[in-house]
Symmetry: C2
Subunit: 90 residues, 2 copies
């Protein structure tokens, strides 16, 4: 079954306390290579039909209207996951 | 600055009530093309150094040990984001 992945991140100008907490933890662990961490969401929508352009257009609309809050979040990616989960054969 | 993206999803055998809620909402909206929704996390780690293999190895370890809970989650992807944010020029 095709899976469509929608990725949503907090807008750059929005504080991300969860991300700040992780960045602080990395620093305490001595991982100084990282300058910042932000945490967003990854939605996997499975469909039983073909993941064609019409469906992707619908998902792009849903991503903006329903899966994200446009006041504080941006939809950064809508894509079709073509690989099968590990261990699954068709 | 290079950005490394870590993606974490709930394991297949774990119930995902958030995802179920979204799937139910899609159904109520008449979007019957979708058979399921699962919701995971997307971390963006920015670094001021090069995103080389050594750093990626470190991030893969961090992803498993710190950014995810291996009892209920899987790290599905660790990758370097090569595109600049929209509107930014170098």
């Amino acid at each position: 079954m095709p899976t469509i992945v929608v990725e949503v991140m907090p807008k750059a100008e929005i504080l991300d306390p969860q991300g700040k907490a992780v960045a602080g933890a990395l620093e305490r662990l001595g991982k100084s290579a990282f300058t910042g961490v932000r945490i967003g969401k990854r939605f996997e929508l499975t469909t039983d039909g073909p993941a064609d352009e019409a469906l992707l257009t619908e998902v792009r609309e849903l991503a903006v209207e329903m899966l994200s809050n446009s006041v504080i979040e941006d939809v950064v990616s809508v894509s079709v996951l073509d690989e099968s989960p590990a261990g699954e054969t068709h």
